[in-house]
Each structure stands twice: as C-alpha cells, then as structure tokens.
C-alpha cells in the first residue's frame, strides 16, 4: 500500500530524566502509550478481582460472603473500572503507540496534553476505589451501590460513594476528551506527505470515529452526572417528578453517552482486526472503502439509538418502534465489517500465530454478541429479557470477547514491535485456548439463566438457577487465573526473549513495520513520503 522512502534520522543525544521522573514528565508518545497499557493491565486485574468476589458469592444460592450492599458496590465499580480504566486506556495506549508510527508522524500532535490525559487516570481510579477503604475506617458506607449506570432516583438517595464516582467520571471524561482531541489533531495534521485520508490505515480510521464519538457524547455524561450531583446536594429537581423533573430523563442522558460508549470501546478493535487478519492471511485487507464507510455509518447510527437500553421504562409506542428499527439498522454496517473480515481470510495463506488465533476467536464470539444483540433490540422480546442475565451474557460477549480479546489481539500483534522481543508462542496459544474455553464456560450458562428469568444485580437467587451459576463461577475463576499467563507472558517478553526484525510478521504491511523493533525513541522525525 505505502512505501517509506526515508528512515528515521539518528537523533543527537538529548538529556532526558531517568527513573520515575521519566514517566512523570514524559512527552514521548511511546512512553505515554506504555503507561496507558500498563495502567490498563493493572486495572484489568483490579476489576477482575472484584467480579471474582461477586462470582464467588453467586456460586451457591443464599448469602455466604458479603452483604447485598457490598455486592452492589462490587458490580458497579467492576463495570466502571473495566470500561473506563481497563478497556478505554488500552485502546488509547494502542493509539499513542501506533498512530504516529503508522501515519509517519514524529509524535502525537499535542505531547504535553497527551501526558496530562494519562496522568488524570490514576487520580480517577483512586477516587473510584477510595470509598471502599474509607468505609473500613468508618467514613461513609462504601462505593456507589447503584451499578455503573447511576440510575436516579437510587443514585440521588445513595451514599457518599456516588459523589466519589461522579467526580471520578468527571476526571475520566476530561482524560478521554483530551486523548480524543489529540488523536483527531494527530490524524488530521500529522500524516506523512502523500498519505491521503483514503490511504490512512484502518486502525487510524477506527480511532478517528471513536474520538469523534467521545467528543460528542462524553460531555453529555458530564452534564448528566453534574445534574445528579446538584440533585443530591444543591436542591435541584432534574430527576424528581415532584419538582417537574423525571428519573427517566437521567436514563436518556446517560444512554446518549452509554450507547456510543459501546462503539467507543469496539471501534479501535474493529480498526485493528483487518491489520491482523491481512498479515496472517498474507493478503491485503478486503474492502477498505467499505470498512471506512461502515465505521462512519456505525458512528452516526450509534448516537441515535440510545433508548433501546430502557425499552421497559415506559415510552410512547412510536418511540419504541423508532429505537427498535434504528438499533437493528446498525447490524447492516456491522455485517459489512464481518463479511470484510471473512473475505480477508478467504483464499489466504493463513497461519495461526497467537494474534491470529485471537482475531479468529474474536470474529466468532463477537458474532454471538451481535446476534444476541438483535434479540434484545426487539421491543417485544426485550420485555422478557431486559435486566436479566441474558443481557449480562450478551454484553460480555461484546465487551470481553469483542473488546478485551480484541485488545489482546493487538497486544500479541504489536508486543514484539514495542519490546523488540518475541513473546512465548506456546504460552500465548495456551492463554488463548484457556481464555476461549473458560469465557464460554462462564457466559453460555448465563444466557440460559437469563432466558429462565434470573435477574441481574441480585446477590441471591432461586434454587432452580443453582447449577448454571456454579458452572459460571467455575468458568470465571479459570478465566481469571488464565489471565495470569497473559501478564507473565508480557512480563517475560519485556524482560527478554528472542530478538525480532523490524518486520516482525512476514505478511505485515505498513509504515510501522519499516522501523526497527523496538522503534527509536524519536521516530519519523523526517517524515516518509507515501507514493
């Protein structure tokens, strides 16, 4: 597709602080990308531990381990941590590391802002989890117990943990907005000469749409939680019918952000998939233009479908019908993406290294997420499935199999480029098979639980649900433990391992593979020219 004509120039020795100061002060996109990815991995385990405690409680009917309030706190913080502190930072880490390398830019366009975007994350993570600690000292009653959706009026009446979560969401929002502005500016202004928008790598396209969605929707979430804050402490009546407000208004505002958020988590992965599939099929990605237009179509549709998250809350019939059909319309561009992914592999000389295994696993499992989503989009069917474990299983197929496994695809694909070392293929493959097996062991039973009527977010359940819950808990623990292999594999790869060449994978195309592995601290200082 594109050929570099010049290489990164040798950079004269400059003074950079070492040790901790290097990470606190850095303006380098590779350092910042590394920090994002490390933070994401740590928070992935934090959020995972929370949900393992939840699954342990659900292993048997009855209350064994915790009070219901604590159970509620764990599920809410698990979701916020996984979405805002694990998945989104991982995608931003990818963007930071790879976008400049892929589009031939010397760095991100706004490097200091970039550093700020990252360093807002640890304070927000502390704010999210601090209420747990404070409760141990008798201050407050723990973290928010409303689930991650903050629904009013429960959140208006909730304890101090809700305030912590509101402020954490504000800070996380500022972080993501700064990251998005930086990514948009980088893509528009930093491309190598000759790289037109329609020669842009698909990963950059995926992130561009993601960044637009973040800019369009995160401020609305900020506004919504601000109204919640004033309802809680300053006497306003946004979500109180006695004052002319409406609790359902909160659901509208929240899901105006919340639904695009799903695509915010997934679009970077969809952008990454064609790169991996084409590399290991030794064929160019099929349907570049179709994929770009699908990204745009999904981005546009995603902001007009939000109310399908609360079909049962009470809406006029015309609104229900509109939101049902607009939701189902998303399956058209999404199906285009699926066909492009499959067509990329068609007649390809496929080899199955770990990233390719994850990519193929992603296509199959994410397909299940899409198909079960169609069931939930149906207003009549949703009347039964809403707020059941069917929903839980559905969105874990989307966000674990789609989001997290997509991120793992990217990590295995680019880790040798970042570190200059090969990870252990054997461990990687073991990690893949354990993950796929235990993921399905965890979540297939939850489909059946939901169909049978088990509600989500309840610490106790009827005896008829016992077997499936026990299986699901078993799967969750295997799933959690097998992620230790992932962390160990990354650790070993960072520390050492066989050296790799600049073009790590023999079928890989693109500017990022023209640079050495690991790339020099400053790359593309002289931009390549794309023919």
């Amino acid at each position: 597709m594109s050929t570099a004509t010049t290489h990164a120039a040798e950079h004269p020795a400059e003074h950079y602080p070492g040790g901790l100061m290097r990470w606190l002060t850095t303006t380098n996109h590779k350092d910042i990308g590394t920090m994002y990815l490390t933070f994401s991995l740590i928070m992935f385990f934090v959020g995972g531990l929370m949900i393992l405690a939840v699954r342990a409680e659900l292993f048997q009917p009855g209350l064994q381990l915790m009070r219901p309030e604590f159970f509620n706190q764990l599920i809410g913080v698990h979701a916020l941590v996984m979405i805002f502190a694990a998945l989104m930072p991982a995608a931003t880490g990818f963007a930071n590391w790879m976008l400049p390398l892929m589009i031939g830019a010397p760095d991100m366009a706004l490097p200091r802002l970039n550093n700020w975007g990252f360093w807002l994350l640890p304070p927000a993570a502390i704010l999210l989890t601090l209420p747990f600690t404070l409760a141990l000292f008798g201050i407050g009653d723990g973290a928010l117990a409303t689930g991650w959706t903050f629904y009013a009026p429960l959140s208006v009446q909730g304890g101090m943990g809700v305030d912590f979560a509101i402020l954490a969401v504000h800070i996380l929002g500022i972080s993501s907005i700064m990251g998005s502005i930086n990514i948009i500016v980088t893509i528009f202004n930093m491309r190598a000469p000759g790289m037109t928008m329609m020669k842009l790598p698909l990963f950059a396209w995926g992130w561009l749409i993601t960044a637009f969605l973040l800019i369009a929707t995160l401020p609305v979430l900020a506004g919504a939680v601000t109204m919640l804050l004033t309802d809680r402490h300053f006497g306003t009546h946004f979500f109180d019918a006695a004052g002319g407000g409406d609790p359902i208004l909160f659901q509208h505002l929240f899901w105006f952000f919340g639904h695009p958020e799903v695509y915010i988590l997934l679009l970077p992965v969809w952008g990454l998939m064609p790169h991996v599939l084409s590399t290991f099929s030794r064929k160019p990605a099929y349907g570049y233009t179709a994929q770009v237009y699908s990204f745009i179509a999904i981005g546009l549709l995603s902001v007009v479908v939000w109310a399908h998250h609360f079909f049962t809350a009470g809406m006029p019939i015309p609104a229900l019908v509109y939101f049902m059909f607009s939701t189902m319309a998303i399956s058209i561009p999404l199906a285009v993406l699926f066909f492009c992914w499959i067509a990329t592999m068609w007649k390809g000389a496929m080899t199955f290294e770990t990233p390719m295994l994850f990519a193929v696993g992603f296509i199959v499992l994410f397909g299940i997420a899409g198909l079960t989503g169609l069931i939930l989009a149906d207003v009549a069917a949703d009347a039964q499935y809403h707020h059941s474990y069917f929903v839980v299983a559905h969105f874990h197929y989307a966000l674990f199999a789609g989001g997290i496994m997509g991120v793992m695809t990217g990590v295995y694909y680019w880790l040798p480029k970042w570190t200059g070392h090969m990870y252990s293929e054997k461990l990687g493959k073991l990690h893949f098979w354990l993950t796929v097996f235990s993921f399905n062991l965890t979540f297939i039973p939850q489909f059946f639980l939901g169909l049978a009527g088990m509600p989500r977010r309840i610490p106790d359940y009827a005896l008829q649900f016992a077997e499936f819950n026990a299986i699901s808990t078993l799967g969750a623990f295997v799933l959690g433990l097998s992620q230790l292999l992932f962390a160990w594999n990354i650790w070993c790869c960072v520390r050492g391992g066989p050296k790799v060449e600049s073009r790590v994978w023999e079928g890989a195309e693109g500017l990022e593979w023209e640079l050495s592995s690991p790339p020099p601290h400053h790359s593309w200082e002289t931009q390549p020219t794309i023919k």
Partner: protein
C-alpha cells in the same frame, strides 16, 4: 476527503516539547480539588482546606504551563505546522463544550416537552394523573414545588443580550486592528470586550440576587429553577473564564505579543468568546423568552 496538509518541506521538524512536570502536577491539583469537594458536601475531613490546596496547585500550573507556552511561542518554536495543531485542537475543544451545554438544553427541552406536560396529564396516552390539580404548564416548579415568579426576558436579560452581542463586535474590531497592525485599535477593542463581559457578569450577579431574594426563584424551584440556574450558571462560568482569557490576551498585546500573521492565542479566545455568545442567544430564547 480532506486534502493532505502541505507541510512537506524537507527537513521541517515538528516541535515536540521537552519533558514537563506540569501535567502531572495539574492532575494532582484536580485530585485534591475533587477530593476536597466530596469532603465538603459530605461533611468529613478538612474539605475546604483540601479544595483550597487543590486550587492553589491548579493556579500554579496554569501560570507555569501557559507561561511556558507563551515563552515558546515568543521564542518562535511554533510555525505553521504546530499552529494548525492548536487550531484543530481548539475547534474540537469548543465542540465538546457545545455538547456539554447540549446536555442541559436537552434536559430543558425534555422537562418542557415531555415530563411537565405528562405530569399535568396532558399527553393522551396517559389516562390518569398523579396530581390532578397540577396544570402542567411552563414555567413551573412542579406539582409539589413552592410558588415563585419566573424571570422576565425584557429587563436585564435583554440588556445582557445587547452587551454580549456588542462584545462580539468589539472583539472582531480588535481583530481587524491586529490584522492591520493598528495596535491601539487592538488594545481598545480588547479592553472594551473585557469591560462588556464584566458588566454582563455584574448584571448576572444582580439578577441572581434579585431572583433569590425577591422572586423566590432558587435552584430548588423545581424544573424551572434547576434548568434556569444550571444553564445560566454554567454560561456565566464560561463568560468568567472568557473574560479572564481576554484580559490575558489584552495584557499580552499591551506587552507587544502577537503579529498580524501569527496570533493563534487571540483567535482561540475570540472563538471561545463567540461560542459563549451563541450559547447565550439560544439561552435567551429558550430560558428567558419563550
């Protein structure tokens, strides 16, 4: 699709700033501010002092970081390529601000079009009403709200509209002065804009005082009070920020910064000011007038 920027002159290097401690300190300050605020509204710990500490840290960074940027700008580190990054960045930042206000306007339209009429039993698909005596007309403080007098449009608000519109004109006049190298016109225009912004804020403060003490219109006055104070309050906050930014630009232009060719900071603040202006117009129509 977008044309590729024509910056491909050989040997041009993008300005990548040296490592800086400001971002991480700023994050620390914001953490303190948030933590202190939570302490304050939940009555535990020395919340006020934590907030004060956080504010001090943030102010330190604002001075330091912007000072550094101004220094870099004056020493010629930024050329067309970097300038374009700042422009795109500011445009998309203003886009996020638009969406932030959209959330509150969305809430206003929702209560006016859906929740208040529904509570008044005015929508045909709701056959009954929880509060039969509630009429469901706007303005309202809801079925259980206390009585209040809504804010009229043609007193101070209309005057404020005139003030902000003229301030948009004066800032553009200052820009013309800058473009034609008439430094006096630049300084006068900016000073007039700062003055108009300050008078607007003074009127707004008076209006709030009037609302609380004579009209019974408070944040607690139901859907009307909530949307009124949140929309005008956040707008007033943005006018305050804009006025401070304009003041900085005025001081900078008095000390000889900006040229007719290179004055991104001026333009960014002017864009911001126009954005605040447009928000006010929408606000005037939907909050005060109709």
């Amino acid at each position: 699709m977008k044309a590729n920027p024509a910056h491909a002159t050989a040997g041009e290097h993008y300005f990548v700033p040296q490592p800086s401690l400001y971002p991480v300190i700023l994050s620390g300050g914001m953490f303190l501010l948030a933590l202190g605020f939570i302490q304050l509204i939940n009555n535990f710990g020395p919340g006020k002092w934590v907030m004060l500490g956080g504010t001090a840290v943030i102010l330190y960074v604002l001075f330091g970081w912007f000072g550094k940027v101004i220094y870099e700008s004056q020493s010629g580190a930024y050329r067309d390529w970097e300038d374009r990054s700042f422009r795109y960045g500011m445009i998309w930042f203003i886009a996020t601000e638009v969406m932030f206000f959209a959330a509150f306007f969305g809430a206003l339209f929702y209560v006016r079009v859906i929740s208040v009429p529904t509570l008044g039993g005015m929508l045909p698909e709701h056959g009954f009403s929880l509060w039969p005596e509630f009429a469901g007309t706007w303005p309202t403080s809801g079925p259980k709200g206390a009585a209040f007098t809504p804010m009229g449009a043609w007193g101070i608000p209309a005057l404020n509209t005139a003030l902000l519109l003229s301030s948009g004109a004066t800032v553009t006049w200052a820009h013309w002065g800058l473009l034609r190298n008439k430094r006096r016109q630049l300084a006068l225009g900016l000073a007039a804009t700062v003055l108009l912004g300050s008078v607007f804020l003074g009127f707004q403060a008076y209006e709030y005082h009037h609302a609380y003490n004579e009209l019974g219109l408070t944040m607690g006055a139901g859907a009307y009070g909530a949307t009124f104070f949140m929309l005008t309050g956040f707008h007033g906050f943005h006018v305050t920020l804009g006025t401070i930014m304009l003041l900085v630009i005025l001081l900078r232009s008095l000390s000889g910064h900006f040229s007719a060719e290179r004055h991104f900071a001026f333009e960014a603040v002017a864009w911001y000011w126009h954005f605040v202006d447009v928000v006010w117009l929408i606000l005037f129509v939907f909050v005060y007038w109709v």
